[in-house]
Point group: C2
Chain length 210, copies 2
DNA sequence: GTCTATACAGGGATAGAC
DNA sequence: GTCTATCCCTGTATAGAC
């Protein structure tokens, strides 16, 4: 997080403006990104959209990379919160998919850009973030699958970690195909995977390609 | 493709040097990329590695984007050729996985970077390339799955396009996780998916010419 | 605390000399 | 075919205004 902010943000008080500014930067940044993409979202472009010089942004974020990571952290937290509110921590993957994907335009694309950076030399901060993120997702999948196995809907012959990686990969890879071509029915593919993993549960006989 | 080259490259003749130079650029570029990543692989860095100014590269490629796309086109062709040589066009996905991934360090990471760009506004050339690429992969998967279905190893209840997207997504997503964390066993996850799709048999056999 | 102005090193693209 | 020079852009960094 950021040292400049107090532990409990308030809407008034000494740091109120700074906190609002920080949030404004994050919000505007993702808007700009949705319009002009990763390379186009320069610090200057973000600052311009707010009416502030690019140098001012650095008071709130150590680097452009950190700014983008902060957006992703925020979106993850929001998605997690929504999932908790809706009690969707179960295997209902297809249902939670839209949430994972985030409804805000550009967020998924931004995530892809940042993942790509994380795969390369350097970019330690991004790499650490995504390693932890995927670890967390696989763990959640294992938890869900364990429940399903205990309920008898998932074969006890199958390796849970191997299955978890597969499920996370499927969601990930399908989002890529969908972003490139909206006619790809990622919902159907995820439901298919669910039915293959938990055949005794409700069976969706046919998916269609829209 | 590139207009500057003749239809049939020869090792001698008027364009021989240009062709060799072009190949040299591609080879060096991927080496540089493996060392310093996407952002570090500037035209100047590539030129320096060859002993030529950055401006000279533009005689062979219209832009940096095109240069990188050309690398990916080349690697795809090489992988396809190897697959044909080894008669691995069948469902033997796990076996062909290493090939899909390309053994050259950095190629997978470069692909991720370029896919990420393709998902954003602008970058039409990249987007077209990857749309076609994923289309092609899904089609190949459908072909393989059709054979398996006719052989009775895959349920005729399942939608082939939906399954194809899932298989391609799994390979894609697993490569991401593996690049971030080598302890992820993507081979096992792919084999798991295969066994879920074709539970009745091992399908590592025979080649089919498309 | 917040922000502007400014400087720096480096990027891709490009024009024209040879 | 390759160069140099140049353009406008970028992220980063710092000094100082208020």
């Amino acid at each position: 997080m950021d040292d400049h902010n107090p532990a409990e943000p308030s809407t008034r008080g000494r740091y109120a403006k700074g906190i609002r500014r920080r949030q404004q930067i994050l919000d505007r940044a993702i808007e700009v990104f949705a319009e002009v993409g990763f390379e186009g979202t320069s610090l200057r472009a973000i600052g311009e959209a707010i009416g502030v010089s690019h140098a001012a942004l650095r008071r709130y974020f150590d680097s452009r990379e950190e700014l983008f990571l902060e957006i992703l952290r925020e979106k993850d937290l929001q998605a997690l919160q929504r999932a908790r509110d809706l009690h969707q921590e179960e295997l209902g993957l297809a249902d939670g998919l839209d949430d994972f994907a985030s409804h805000v335009p550009g967020v998924m694309a931004l995530r892809h850009s940042m993942v790509a950076r994380a795969l390369e030399p350097g970019n330690e901060r991004s790499r650490d973030f995504f390693i932890a993120r995927y670890d967390s997702f696989r763990d959640e999948a294992i938890t869900s699958l364990t429940l399903a196995r205990n309920a008898g809907t998932v074969s006890s012959q199958l390796s849970l970690p191997v299955m978890a990686a597969l499920v996370v990969a499927a969601v990930d890879g399908l989002s890529t195909q969908w972003l490139l071509d909206n006619s790809v029915d990622m919902h159907a593919s995820i439901e298919l995977l669910e039915s293959l993993i938990a055949p005794t549960a409700e069976i969706h006989t046919e998916g269609k390609t829209k």
